[in-house]
Point group: C2
Chain length 182, copies 2
DNA sequence: TTCATTAAAAGACATATGTTTATAATTTAG
DNA sequence: CTAAATTATAAACATATGTCTTTTAATGAA
């Protein structure tokens, strides 16, 4: 295992924590690099040593969440669509502060793409276009269609303030997916 | 009808045409305000007299396309899902240069939201959650689920280079929608 | 045609981003 | 422990955005 210089680890941790703190205070798009540097107590140039720009930084944070979600899927064996969706919604709820702020920023498309990929990976084993209801359809179209639907619902859920309980929305989503992929 | 000063009309036309031209040459995100000003032969400050920033300008262009799409829907009476989708795909193909460039820019989320709204408006009369297959589901969830799916497929279609013919992808989309909303 | 009004131009200013260089500080390896 | 290597700092620089003020040019109304 390649040993990483301690200074690098310390700087990155400080920077990431600074961003997370600031995200709780103001829209991501309005946070300046200088604010991040001040909060992290590092030189502004140091941020550029580690990240291309602040959106690259946000991408990395999103990626960490994606890894967590992927891990949760690994740990849970053989779920129904409803159960699988519920795990995601639970996770989003637990980290709602980050996701709310992130989803209203210009960094949201990265999340959408990454989560879409994750959903596609999870659904792929369930799609059968050689027989049954989806016979003759293009596999990519089916996957993309329903994965986009799932991602869209998650975003809408955040946008309208997450009023619908996670259990309920996971149930409705699960029902629609069962009809089409089950 | 409020008469608009000719100078305003001329400036806006020049600016919009300049952007469209530049979009054919480079990624939208990489176009500078100065480049737009030079191409439109206006002062840089003039752009700010009319638009908040270049993304506001892009939003306006997107809005014009949305209006066109909406008009097409008006003109076509009582379509199947497949036919309705095909009209959209035809339009996107006809304006593929603009949409390709726009969809790879930071302005894409605005398009997604506006097109999503349009799709929701078109589908709303078709959704019945009081009886039948979608009974008991939340109307907003159903609408948002399938409209997101449609928007996601359009974006994917552009992203993979529009290799699938419009007729085919409209057909596959139509079939999935018929199963769920028909 | 004239004149009042309005839009555009020009240039300066403030702010933020991203880059670069030399120096200082810290870490790592022997 | 020492020295080499690496990372961070500080400051300067270039570029781009967005704002503001004064002057010029064009428009629209009478």
């Amino acid at each position: 295992m390649t040993k990483i210089d301690r200074r690098i680890i310390k700087s990155q941790e400080a920077i990431k924590n600074a961003v997370i703190e600031l995200m709780a205070e103001k829209p991501f798009d309005d946070i300046t690099i200088q604010e991040i540097a001040d909060r992290a107590n590092v030189n502004r140039g140091t941020i550029y040593l580690h990240y291309t720009d602040k959106y690259d930084l946000l991408d990395k944070l999103i990626e960490e969440h994606m890894d967590n979600l992927r891990q949760l899927c690994r740990e849970a064996a053989d779920l129904t669509f409803e159960e699988g969706n519920y795990i995601w919604y639970e996770y989003f709820e637990r980290h709602q502060l980050f996701f709310s702020t992130m989803l209203s920023s210009k960094g949201a498309p990265f999340f959408r793409n990454r989560f879409l990929q994750l959903v596609i990976e999870e659904f792929k084993p369930e799609v059968d276009t050689s027989s049954g209801k989806n016979e003759g359809l293009d596999e990519d179209v089916v996957l993309k269609f329903f994965a986009s639907a799932v991602v869209g619902i998650v975003e809408w859920w955040f946008k309208q303030g997450r009023t619908m309980p996670a259990r309920v929305i996971a149930g409705q989503t699960g029902r629609l997916l069962d009809r089409n992929l089950g």
